[in-house]
């Protein structure tokens, strides 16, 4: 599980030196959340948090420092829902006009039962569209391990990985150490490393 930053927020990694990932390990989610806040206070925005379970404390801290605002997924949902209703109208009205069957003396276009089809397609296409939006905006699925990932971050430890220039790594390490990181290592990143 990971909370990522946006690629355009790179105040400490814009340079000509080689780029490294500073990998810090925390014992608890509370310390990890404190680390996120400490990075924010030090104006370091390029980091990724790893945690073995959905930690409300870490998610709150990430949300707090990122100030992401409202999720764009809702527009996918809205668009899908409207598409669903329009599709249902086209299917129900269209087939009735095409076949012109009078059932029980009612008009060819009898709206009450069509409302069910409209509702169902609103939910179906709205839901599928929202799910698609969720995957698109989360850039999921991720098949290769993310830079700095360690398997223990899926077991019993919490990780904060900061991507920065090698020259800035020392100051990043001191911020993380003062926030309570129990172990800090560096990993040199490939030049073509993709920022997720």
């Amino acid at each position: 599980m990971a909370a990522a930053s946006r690629p355009h927020e790179l105040p400490v990694s814009e340079g000509s030196m080689s780029e490294v990932a500073v990998i810090s390990t925390f014992d608890s989610d509370e310390e990890c959340a404190q680390g996120i806040l400490a990075l924010h206070d030090a104006r370091i925005h390029e980091f990724r948090a790893f945690y073995p379970f959905p930690s409300e404390k870490i998610m709150e801290a990430v949300d707090h420092v990122r100030a992401w605002g409202r999720s764009p997924v809702r527009y996918w949902q809205l668009f899908g829902g409207i598409t669903g209703v329009l599709t249902a109208i086209a299917i129900t009205f269209g087939t009735s006009w095409e076949w012109n069957l009078i059932a029980g003396g009612r008009p060819i276009i009898s709206v009450p039962p069509y409302i069910i089809i409209m509702f169902e397609l609103l939910i179906l296409i709205g839901g599928l569209s929202g799910l698609t939006g969720f995957f698109v905006h989360n850039r999921m699925p991720v098949f290769d391990p993310l830079p700095g990932y360690r398997s223990r971050f899926s077991e019993d430890k919490f990780g904060l990985v900061v991507q920065c220039d090698e020259g800035a790594a020392g100051s990043v390490e001191s911020v993380l150490r003062s926030a309570g990181a129990e172990d800090i290592t560096r990993e040199i990143l490939e030049a073509a490393t993709d920022h997720h």
Partner: protein, 408 residues
């Protein structure tokens, strides 16, 4: 810990919200007494003038309306316990239970229907051999009276348990996963199930039997869903009322609490139209005159058209469209307006369920109806004041630190 740090990090103690404020209850008390007096005078004058049918018609409408809010409120509280809802400390329990005292008075007012039965129930004057076994005076009033007594006692018992210190302490522990006190855990589902059964029975006996030839098996379900919703809008009005008196920053008036009540109003208005439409669709498909006449008379025949169409607009269309976003739910003026219109809609609904069955071509809406409704409202307000005082006290009680951001 930075000043902008999220509340869940490092905070441990339960914090008081702010200094309690005193509320002047005298104006509400006076209003209740005046309305009650108006109602009493109207009731007596109308009976002397020989308008007994209109008196008992509107008596039944108001009995159903106000009992529905009070009972729906207690069921809301039971539902909160069943879902372990602690989103406003114990304050939302006090809000839901604010009108519970009226249930005891409502039980007494029920017997007014017995007094006026000859003016209300058509099957007394024109008994049907087929339905006589179920629709006869002794059996109907015995079963409804006993049922109402049982649910009133169970509801008041739940409310008394809910007001005990251990229940209030449980409600204030937001981040714990402990269960409510054991007596409440056992009684809350009983009250909820009794409500579904008894309010279905009342709907069949006191509303459907007014048109003895009409039947809909979904009617009871739809009717108790309406009463439950009317309690949520009454809670919305309470929250907005306290917002005016206290301002934000209490657990009765904070934007987060208004938001949650707004979500309930929004969700259950959809449930109301869902059950209503489910009932309508079955009738529409069957297209049997013995089923369709009930709807056709109300929605397509003068003078009921306007009132009938206004009910889905006030109960579903307006709450759905207006409360779709988060901001309107948190805005007191908007939430209060939607809640007030919703309550008016529920009153209209009770009116069009009862009255067209008894006076087919005439809309009896004059001084008799207004004064007697005012009288019921007066009694309801007087019964609500002790409950509202408890809401005011709970509004300033300490809340868990996790809830603190929602209260600001």
């Amino acid at each position: 810990m930075t000043p902008r740090q999220p509340a869940s990090l490092g905070a441990a103690a339960v914090r008081p919200l702010r200094q309690p404020m005193q509320v002047n209850w005298a104006p509400l008390n006076r209003l209740g007494v005046v309305l009650f007096a108006i109602g009493l005078i109207g009731f007596v004058v109308a009976l002397i003038a020989g308008r007994s049918q209109r008196v008992w018609e509107i008596w039944l409408v108001n009995f159903l309306f106000f009992n529905g809010i009070a009972q729906g409120g207690v069921v809301c509280s039971a539902a909160f316990y069943l879902t372990q809802a602690r989103w406003a400390g114990s304050t939302h329990y006090r809000m839901a239970e604010a009108f519970s005292l009226y249930l005891a008075i409502g039980f007494v007012l029920f017997w007014g229907i017995f007094v006026g039965r000859g003016s209300i129930f058509p099957w007394i004057l024109h008994p049907s051999l087929k339905q006589q076994l179920w629709l006869n005076v002794p059996f109907l009033f015995a079963r409804d009276g006993i049922a109402l007594l049982v649910i009133t006692v169970a509801s008041l018992w739940l409310v008394s348990l809910s007001r005990r210190p251990e229940a209030r302490a449980w409600a204030s522990r937001f981040s714990e996963i402990d269960m409510p006190p054991v007596a409440i855990r056992r009684l809350a589902p009983v009250v909820a199930i009794l409500y579904c059964a008894i309010y279905s029975l009342l709907a069949f006996d006191l509303i459907m039997s007014l048109s003895p030839k009409w039947h809909s098996t979904l009617f009871g379900w739809w009717y108790f869903a309406t009463d439950f919703w009317s309690a949520t809008v009454a809670m919305g009005l309470i929250a907005v009322g306290f917002r005016r008196v206290f301002g934000p920053g209490t657990s009765a008036s904070a934007p987060g609490v208004l938001h949650d009540i707004g979500k309930m109003i929004f969700a259950f208005s959809i449930f109301w139209i869902y059950t209503g439409f489910a009932q309508y669709l079955v009738i529409w498909y069957g297209d049997l005159p013995t089923e369709t006449f009930f709807i056709v008379q109300r929605f397509w025949h003068h003078p009921w058209t306007l009132l009938s169409w206004s009910t889905p607009i006030l109960i579903w269309v307006i709450p759905f469209l207006v409360l779709l976003g988060a901001r309107p739910k948190r805005t007191p003026g908007i939430l209060g307006t939607v809640s007030l219109l919703g309550l008016i809609g529920v009153w209209f609904l009770n009116f069009i369920l009862v009255v067209p069955s008894l006076s087919r071509d005439r809309l009896p809406l004059g001084w008799i109806e207004l004064t007697i409704t005012a009288g019921f409202l007066g009694i309801f307000l007087l019964c609500a004041i002790p409950g509202l005082k408890r809401v005011a006290a709970a509004a300033f009680e300490p809340v868990s630190p996790e809830l603190q951001p929602r209260m600001e």
